[in-house]
């Protein structure tokens, strides 16, 4: 038997994508309320279909259509986003695990967020915009595994279908190349994906996070 212990604030994978638990209503069959990090849409499910993930330094993910990398090599300054991954609230504080807040002011004891939360420097990870080259993408559970095992080169069909397939309106960015290319999926024919700007890319190449990075879907906005 597997015992599930889902708590508010935890990062979890649901349908292979990164979500945050924003509420648990214990008496209901579908008790876990989720918010998808990528586009902030709401979802509801049960504890058995989510898998916990604990964010750590150098993890990168897309939050509200923008990519961020978690760092702790410097203290947050006004205007930065922080992920409160280690909440040690004082008795009157009202924030909870993994809250994402905008820093309004900072001093050497801690930061004050735009939500009037007082957070000490050891309670958060800084969210640096963009994906750092040494970062570890945590947006999708399987994609991360693929990276580790570096089996992408084999390009087998079974592997690409395990992740979500590209769909019309997805916007991708080419990584690992100096020239910046961002393009939208305009057509799909069998294993070939047609991107705007006349690009034709095989589906498994597009799904390889080392060459192409999924940003967001146009319809999500």
């Amino acid at each position: 038997m597997k015992l599930y212990q889902v708590r508010k604030g935890q990062f979890v994978y649901y349908n292979n994508e990164l979500h945050k638990v924003y509420g648990v209503k214990p008496m209901y069959k579908l008790s876990v309320h989720l918010i998808k990090m990528r586009d902030l849409t709401q979802h509801i499910t049960n504890a058995a279909s989510v898998e916990k993930y604990k964010p750590k330094e150098y993890d990168s993910f897309i939050f509200n259509h923008k990519a961020y990398t978690l760092r702790k090599d410097r203290k947050a300054e006004a205007g930065d986003y922080i992920l409160i991954n280690n909440p040690m609230q004082d008795s009157l504080d009202t924030y909870s695990l993994n809250e994402i807040d905008l820093v309004e002011s900072a001093d050497n004891k801690g930061v004050i967020t735009s939500n009037s939360h007082g957070v000490k420097h050891n309670e958060y990870l800084l969210m640096v915009p963009g994906r750092a080259p040494d970062s570890n993408s945590i947006d999708r559970k399987d994609m991360a595994n693929d990276d580790d095992e570096s089996v992408n080169d084999s390009g087998t069909l079974g592997q690409t279908t395990s992740g979500p397939l590209p769909s019309l309106g997805d916007i991708y960015k080419r990584t690992g190349n100096d020239s910046i290319v961002e393009a939208m999926v305009v057509a799909i024919k069998d294993q070939t994906v047609y991107l705007g700007g006349g690009l034709e890319v095989p589906q498994d190449e597009l799904m390889n996070s080392k060459t192409w990075e999924f940003l967001y879907n146009l319809l999500d906005r």
Partner: protein
């Protein structure tokens, strides 16, 4: 930035020194302290009584005005903010913070004491019982909650809408401008800290007496001053550990547990106690309370002895005011995202009904039991051992041992949560309203508040606790009156800002 930092430090140092002087006075010149507090106590009856009565009635009228005013739609926080907590848990938290230890301590003792020595008329009669309940409602009803409403609203409004530091002086920004960072603002902060330390010390003193009484009842520990001091010392060590190890989360769980337990006790007594009497008491006393509210609010005895008024009404008003910065800070923290109207309903009206219900259940059953025994012994016994009152009362109910243990748990938990939260609030107030007070300052206040509670108990127990809060709260009562005007000025400017926003939104 530097000047603000210094402001924080000088506020901390001066208020710490003031409190330390008082503690040294209490430890080395105990007799002198008792004498001086006696003089203040008597003086307060003659000279300060009307100030407290007038101010508190004004606070009630002012908060009702806010409820119906055009400021009711202003949201505390950004316009898009929504409450952090659902309404039920919000109300439970407000109730727990505002009453806490006191409501357990007094809910049986006060009605019974009034029953034996009523403010007017003869003791031990049916009339005396009704008067006793009426005054209990009065002391725990609208007035304390109006005080909390004003201070909580002022703190929340200037903190979330005007983005000022979480200090009492911030509430004076509309009147003083940037002078809140100067000497005037510092003086306001020092006075508020001074009042708060005494309010907290009074509650901790009562709490220590109550915890000791509970241990006496359950474990047979002697009910003596010495044990009370040990209780304070142990609690101090516990919350200092909690500050240093990040066990604060545990404190939050504890405080939730205390609220659930007290609700359980209330329901149990409603069921096993004289249910019909309780319901009758609730209805009858609510009627009496509403119809005699003005009379009670302004009652002084110009041609007679004012002893009763000083030891009850004035003490309560002073205690609520001294306790207000602490509760206000808590209420402000949990109320972000509520509108002013929601806030007033949630902090003034609902908790008043809650306390009245609680008092009817505890006081009503206690009075029923006291009357049924037919003799004066039980009532006298309760009056003479106020801190044992609630446990004596439990002995006369079915399931008394369960109730005693639950009651003891609630009091002990309230004690530790109040002490812990108080260190945080005092830290915030004394560091210029920062949301990240340093652990050193929190620990300093932790030790100081415990020491003060101990000194007050040493100097003479309950009477000295009462007198000390009456004296310490007076300057803060004046500050609160001015705060009302400042708050209105701030709210008015907020309405103008919001109107301006709407217009520009149309044009763009």
């Amino acid at each position: 930035m530097d000047s603000k930092k210094n402001a924080g430090n000088s506020v901390f140092i001066i208020s710490l020194l003031l409190t330390l002087i008082f503690i040294v006075w209490g430890v080395f010149f105990t007799d002198n302290l008792t004498k001086v507090t006696d003089i203040i106590y008597n003086g307060s009856i003659d000279y300060l009584g009307w100030v407290y009565l007038g101010a508190t009635l004004f606070f009630v009228i002012f908060s009702i005005y806010l409820l119906f005013s055009k400021y009711g739609d202003i949201r505390l926080g950004k316009k898009t903010d929504r409450p952090d907590f659902n309404t039920a848990s919000w109300l439970a938290m407000l109730f727990g913070a505002g009453m806490g230890i006191g409501i357990v301590y007094w809910s049986v003792a006060e009605p019974v004491t009034h029953y034996t020595t009523p403010p007017y008329g003869e003791g031990y009669t049916v009339d005396a019982a009704n008067t006793a309940m009426k005054y209990t409602f009065f002391h725990w009803g609208l007035d304390p909650w109006a005080i909390y409403t004003i201070i909580g609203l002022a703190l929340a409004f200037f903190q979330y809408n005007k983005r000022l530091p979480a200090a009492i002086s911030s509430a004076f920004h509309p009147l003083l401008g940037d002078r809140i960072y100067g000497p005037i603002g510092k003086t306001i902060d020092i006075l508020s800290i001074f009042a708060t330390v005494f309010g907290i010390a009074t509650s901790l003193g009562l709490g220590a007496m109550q915890v000791t009484a509970g241990m006496h009842e359950i474990f047979g520990v002697p009910n003596e001053l010495f044990v009370q001091l040990i209780v304070i010392a142990v609690a101090t060590v516990l919350f200092i550990i909690s500050i240093n190890t990040g066990l604060e989360k545990g404190i939050q769980y504890l405080s939730n547990a205390a609220m659930i337990l007290s609700f359980a006790i209330m329901v149990m007594i409603l069921i096993v106690g004289p249910t019909m009497t309780i319901i009758k008491v609730f209805f009858n006393t609510t009627g009496l309370y509403i119809s005699d509210f003005i009379h009670m609010s302004l009652r002084l005895r110009p041609f007679g002895e004012g002893e009763w008024i000083a030891s009850w009404t004035l003490f309560y008003w002073a205690w609520w005011i001294a306790w207000a910065p602490f509760v206000g800070m808590f209420i402000a923290r949990v109320s972000k995202g509520r509108t002013v109207r929601e806030f007033v309903i949630g902090v003034l009206i609902v908790p008043t009904l809650g306390t009245c219900l609680w008092m009817s259940i505890f006081g009503g059953s206690a009075l029923e039991i006291v009357q049924n025994t037919g003799s004066h012994d039980l009532a006298k016994n309760i009056t003479e051992n106020v801190s044992l009152a609630i446990f004596t009362f439990f002995d006369y109910l079915p399931l008394s041992s369960v109730l005693s243990i639950l009651g003891f748990a609630v009091v002990a938990i309230y004690y530790i949560t109040v002490a812990d939260t108080a260190t945080f609030v005092l830290g915030m107030l004394s560091e210029g309203g920062t949301l990240n007070p340093s652990n050193k300052i929190k620990m300093t206040w932790g030790v100081i508040q415990s020491a003060l509670a101990a000194v007050l108990l040493l100097a003479g127990g309950l009477n000295v606790l009462q007198t000390a809060s009456i004296a310490a709260a007076l300057p803060f009562a004046i500050i609160m009156i001015i705060m009302c005007f400042s708050l209105v000025k701030g709210l008015r400017s907020e309405i103008e800002v919001q109107k301006g926003n709407k217009r520009s939104a149309y044009h763009s």
